[in-house]
Symmetry: C3
Subunit: 265 residues, 3 copies
């Protein structure tokens, strides 16, 4: 069974949606560039005076708390309110949740005060948001005791949103159906930024497809197939990252249909 | 006819001017690195307590409002005042003007409160600053109804400065003469950062040549010839960007004289 | 004589220490990624509400004042206090000291108010911190009149810390013994970021070895051997940087033992 990942990618390339980000200062370039090489249009803006206007001309909003401050989260709320009013999807990467109490508290503030449409993180980040007693090592995932699909589904139902847990096997669920995406390559964990880029890709795909779980799964699948292609020939992590942008840019239907490994439950 | 682009590049490499930036957080590395590979010396500093001192030891100042805040613009004014007093050129990249009212307002504040020597942007950004009723899609250009050379010349005369509109054909004018630079490659539009780097290159070249329109045109020409060389063999966008730094570093007289496409009006 | 650089690298790869940074916005990605490709775990966090907690779960703290503000330095002090209490090493990159009075003042504030375990900089930066009357050109080193080993040793004794001066020959001393590391390649000075990455590497190696001078020298040696390998074949600066990450990732015992050039005094 296929979820038409390539068809959604074609929509991204045709519609070139504007994807507004308030993200972290480490991977901000990569977040912008991955949106660009997917054929869409990134914009980064965080001043409280303009975020509502910028979200108002965008087709999706991506929030990432990787290097959060209180002021940045305040701007995120303003942007998300504007996005909520306009009805565009809001993706929240709970980057580093489970590492400090501040990240947990600010993540929950966002979830409670605005409508988040997609929660994205690695296993321990999402589990922490779901109330599990886990520890994240900075922004690198830690062990989670419970079944991850269950954690994701419960959180999706509780928050009435889509949840995406990235890892060797990505779990994407809206609380009803679940997609397990088994594409990707171990080299993705050897460089900084693939997790943040994944959230930007989810935002980009959700900008053009109202079925957010399907869009998120399709985006992750395409991104990870590009990573598989970039890893061919066994490059080191620097070359791998360079080629990742090349391969996203060049993704075609036959590559995606031949490699797509998505289980739909 | 030639404007001696390579001669100005040689001056950059010999004098290694210090180019002080207050720029955006997305492409800040690329802005610094492009200055470095051109053989000059970049420095990024934005604290209000030090920007006057830093501009005071620099040979050019580059301002870019890509991820502006009110506080950052305040620092830009302090730095620009210091640059104005010292008599070094100030370049303003009106990144995203026309996307939000805040960007328009802050751009005009800068233009009204300090002396900007070079205004740089894409078509819709510069047209917005010139008072046209246009819309910028985030930081990606939108359509402009009027003749762009006319828009640029009027703005240059009004503001008594040099104006550089980048695009497939770059327009550089000081309100008297005009340079049309027709170098470059479509791949430049496929990655994030080439526009911001162009402003840094303009600042670098203006640091060593008092004829700012000529220096800006020469800088754009050299940068875009490097892009043509980097695009040879049809690399994807990741590899293209890596090679762009290689090719800037390696630029020589014969490459520039063979490829330079500048119309002087 | 060998200082066992490869053995310390193996410890980094085995223990995967979490290295907390408050660094500059220009090279923040590179600082994180170099830690990652060395096999460790970087985290960047600067909010005053969370830096104590983040330092509290880390194994080393790296501070870099490249794009400092007063607020950021305040956060650095909170983080360093937490690191001091926990007993993990604190590395301070005095990036740009000697360029503005503000950088000098803030560097001294940090040195006076918290315990800095390793001071790192280029010749003019460290000399400035040591009280010499020198000038740094932005973040690029300037000339220093005195013998650098002497400057480093005196500063190390005065401040009871380790001092690392990077350059063609790196000087690392704890005021008793001194390591002179003669690895590296001229291409490192052609791109932005190698200096900042060097501080992150020092932090990473100090996270796993209590002899901080030895750890710092070992880290610099490994990083610079990777640079030598990356420079083979004469790549341009863009390609060199990409390959630098590849070569760090791939470093093995025979490369290090064959190339290591460390004089122990």
């Amino acid at each position: 069974m296929t979820i038409g990942a390539y068809d959604i990618l074609e929509k991204v390339r045709a519609e070139k949606p504007l994807v507004h980000h308030l993200t972290n200062w480490v991977t901000i370039y990569d977040c912008a560039n991955i949106v660009k090489v997917f054929g869409a249009s990134p914009v980064m803006a965080h001043a409280p005076e303009e975020v509502a206007d910028m979200a108002g001309i965008a087709s999706a909003l991506v929030l990432n708390i990787g290097t959060l401050t209180s002021e940045l989260v305040d701007s995120m709320k303003i942007a998300a309110n504007s996005a909520n009013k306009k009805g565009i999807p809001v993706v929240l990467d709970v980057c580093g949740a489970g590492a400090t109490a501040f990240r947990d508290r600010k993540s929950l503030e966002l979830l409670n005060e605005v409508k988040i449409d997609v929660i994205k993180g690695n296993a321990s980040e999402v589990a922490r948001i779901a109330g599990e007693d886990v520890r994240t090592k900075g922004v690198d995932g830690g062990a989670v005791g419970r079944d991850l699909v269950e954690v994701a589904m419960e959180l999706a139902r509780d928050r009435e949103c889509t949840v995406a847990i990235t890892g060797e096997e990505d779990i994407v669920t809206d609380g009803r159906g679940t997609y397990l995406v088994r594409n990707g390559h171990g080299m993705m964990a050897c460089i900084v930024g693939t997790g943040c880029m994944a959230a930007s890709v989810i935002g980009t795909f959700c900008a053009v497809d109202a079925d957010l779980a399907r869009a998120a799964a399709a985006g992750l699948c395409c991104f990870e197939i590009a990573a598989e292609l970039a890893a061919e020939g066994g490059p080191g992590p620097g070359t791998f990252k360079t080629k990742l942008f090349d391969c996203v840019h060049g993704l075609n239907r036959s590559q995606i249909e031949a490699r797509q490994k998505i289980e739909v439950r």
